[in-house]
Symmetry: C2
Subunit: 346 residues, 2 copies
DNA sequence: TTGAAAGCGGTACCAA
DNA sequence: TTGGTACCGCTTTCAA
C-alpha cells in the first residue's frame, strides 16, 4: 500500500531518500539527475531508486540553490485571440527543448494589469521575459530594468526597445493595405476599428490608414470605432452598418482584424449586399476564418507562430551570451515579415 | 545611477538588505510582506525601504521555506481552441484573487505529452492540478497519486474520477443533438468528426451519435472521419464533400465541432446548396463563429468559461479543507449544464 | 568518481 | 510587537 501510496499519504520522497536507498550520497543523485559524469553502475542503481520511489525533484529548491530558475515569462493581451495563442505556441516550441517552462500571463490589454503581472512573475526569477507591444507603464520599465532580466517586446517595431524586439510596424502594414485597395481602384475607403485606446496595435493600424489615405489625397475621415478589445466577430456587423449609414457611397472597408471583417461580411450578406461587388472588405491578421469563409477575405498575413519562435531564439541567444559572461546585448529589433494577401473580398 | 540600476547591474536586493535599511530584522520584513501584525510605524519604515530598493521577494525561497508554492497547474489539449482558452481564463479569474499563479501546459491531445508535462509541473509542487479529460496514462495516474496533489478533471464526466471532475457527458450531449435533429424530421443523418483517436471528447460525441441513432432505429453508419485534432474550419469542407459523395441523400450533418460545421456550410454555399433547406448542419461547442455566420449554426452550447470557474472553486475548496486538516474529499463529479441551441442551420 | 559541508533566501517557531 | 535560530531541499565547492 505504501509503495504506491494509495492509502497512506506519506510526504513525497526527497533526494536524501533516493540516496539512502541507492546507497550513495545526495550529491551523486544530484549528478545523475543533472546528467553529470557518474560511474555507469552507480547511475543505474540511482536511477532504479528514483523509479522505485517515484522521486520528483523539487524545482524551487534547485532554483534557490543554483540561483537560476527555468522559467520564462510571457505576457500577451489575450489568450483568446488565436494570434497570440499561436505566438505562445511558437515560444513554447522553441523553449521547451531547453527545459524552460513558460509562465503565461494574460494582460487583458491593460497596462496596469501588465505591471501587476510583471511584478508577480519577477518573484519567480524568470530567466527572461517576453512582453507584447512596446507601451508599458513607467513602473513596469523600472521593475524590468532593476531585475536585470533580458526582455523581448513582441508584435511591434519600437524605435527604442527596452532590450530586443521581434515584430513589425503595424502602421506600415496598414499603409500597405491602403495602397493595395487604392491600386484596385477603390477611393472611398472606410476604416473599422475598436473604440478602445488600449489596443496599441489596432491604433497603429488606424494611424497607418489615415497616413496613407492622406498621402494618396483620399478622404481619411470615414472611420468607425466600435467595441472593446479584443475585437471579435460580433463587432463587425454593427460597425459596417454604421459605416454604410454614415457614408452610403463607401466602396471599401478596411477592418482592424479579420474577426470584424468576417462579421462585416455576414452583415452585408444579410443586407443583400455582395462582397466585393457592392462593397469590398479587407481584414488583418490572416486568421483561419479569413481563408475559409466565402468570399475568402483579403488580409494582411502575419506569422504569429514565427514571432513566438524567433522571440524564443532571441531569448536563448541572450541566455547563452550571459552564460559565457558576455553582457547580453541582444540584437535589437528583429523584423518579422508580413504581406497583403489578395483574396476574394477586396 | 545605482539607484535605478541603469548602469551597474548589481545583484537584486534581498530581504536582509531591506531589513538593514529599515533597521529591523528579516522577520519583520517578512511579516510586513505577509500582512501580519506589525506596528504601524515599523510597517511604514519597512515599506519605504522596500520601495526604495525595488525589492521583489523570491518566490522559490518562500516556497521552499514554507513548504507550499502558489502554483496551480492546468493542462489543456490545445491553447488554440477558444473553448480551452476560455476554460483557462475562467480558472485564472477564480484563482488569481487568491494569489495563485497558473502553470499552463498544452498537451496537443497526446497522453504521453500530458505525462511529460505532469511530471514537469509536479517539480514545482503545485497546490493543485487541473487536467482535461479522464483518459491518462497509467504513469500519469501513479505520478498524481503519489504527489498527493488534489486533481480536477475537466470537460468530462468520468464514472470514477481520480479526485474530482467538472464537466459533462459528451455522449449524452451528442445524443441530445440527435434527438433534436430527429424531432425536426431529419432521418438520414451523417456525422462529421476527426480521424484521430486522441480526441476522446470527439470520440464520445461519435459514440453518442451512434447510440442515439440506433435507439431511434435510424441508419448510424453515415460517418466521415477526417483530419487530426484539433479540428479546424478547414476540415469541414472536405468532410461534407465526402459525406455527400458517399450518401447523396443525406438530410442532415452533425459535426463534432462548430469549426467543422462552419467549414461544411461554406462548402455547401460553394456547391450551391442551401442550408438548411438542401442540407441541415449542426455543430458543437457554441463557438463565436456559430452565432455570427449566416445561417447561424445550431449547436450544443457549453459553458467553457464556467468549467474553468467551477474548477477553480473546486480547487480552492480542496485547499481550504486541507488547510483545516480535513482530508480534502472533493465533491466528486460536478456537472456542468449544456443545451442544444436551435438556430438557423438545422 | 564520490562525499561532506556550507549556504541559497526566505518562513516557522519560540523566546524576549 | 519584535528578534534569533533552525531549517526547507537542493547545488556549489572543495577535498578525498
Amino acid at each position: 500500500m505504501s509503495a504506491n501510496g494509495s492509502d497512506i499519504v506519506t510526504s513525497p520522497p526527497r533526494m536524501s531518500d533516493v540516496a539512502r536507498l541507492a546507497g550513495v550520497s545526495k550529491m551523486t543523485v544530484s549528478r545523475v539527475l543533472a546528467g553529470h559524469s557518474v560511474a555507469i553502475t552507480t547511475r543505474e542503481r540511482v536511477q532504479q531508486a528514483i523509479d522505485q520511489l517515484g522521486y520528483v525533484a523539487d524545482a524551487a529548491a534547485g532554483a534557490l540553490s543554483s540561483g537560476r530558475s527555468e522559467f520564462v515569462a510571457v505576457l500577451v493581451p489575450s489568450l483568446a485571440s488565436s494570434n497570440f495563442s499561436d505566438t505562445v505556441r511558437g515560444l513554447s516550441a522553441s523553449l521547451e527543448p531547453h527545459g524552460l517552462q513558460l509562465l503565461i500571463g494574460d494582460t487583458d490589454y491593460h497596462l496596469d494589469r501588465e505591471e501587476r503581472l510583471v511584478r508577480s512573475m519577477l518573484r519567480h526569477q524568470p530567466r527572461c521575459i517576453a512582453l507584447t507591444g512596446s507601451r508599458h507603464t513607467e513602473a513596469t520599465r523600472t521593475l524590468l530594468r532593476r531585475s536585470g532580466v533580458p526582455v523581448v517586446e513582441m508584435w511591434d517595431a519600437p524605435a527604442d526597445p527596452i532590450d530586443a524586439a521581434v515584430g513589425f510596424s503595424n502602421v506600415n502594414a496598414a499603409r500597405e493595405m491602403v495602397r493595395y485597395l487604392a491600386d484596385k481602384g477603390y477611393e472611398r475607403i472606410g476604416f473599422i476599428g475598436g473604440a478602445s485606446e488600449l489596443d496599441r496595435r489596432g491604433l497603429d493600424r488606424l494611424k497607418g490608414f489615415r497616413a496613407q489615405m492622406k498621402a494618396l489625397d483620399l478622404d481619411d475621415t470615414r472611420i468607425i470605432r466600435l467595441g472593446e478589445s479584443p475585437i471579435t466577430m460580433s463587432h463587425g456587423g454593427p460597425a459596417i452598418a454604421a459605416l454604410l449609414d454614415t457614408w452610403p457611397d463607401t466602396q471599401a472597408a478596411m477592418c482592424v482584424s479579420d474577426m470584424s471583417a468576417f462579421g462585416a461580411i455576414m452583415e452585408c450578406h444579410r443586407r443583400g449586399l455582395t462582397v466585393p461587388d457592392d462593397i469590398a472588405i479587407a481584414g488583418f491578421g490572416n486568421f483561419e476564418v479569413s481563408a475559409c469563409c466565402t468570399p475568402t477575405i483579403t488580409t494582411v498575413s502575419v506569422d504569429a507562430y514565427g514571432i513566438g519562435l524567433r522571440t524564443g531564439e532571441t531569448l536563448l541567444a541572450a541566455l547563452e551570451a550571459r552564460e559565457q559572461g558576455i553582457e547580453p546585448k541582444l540584437n535589437k529589433r528583429k523584423r518579422v515579415a508580413y504581406e497583403v494577401l489578395a483574396r476574394e473580398s477586396a
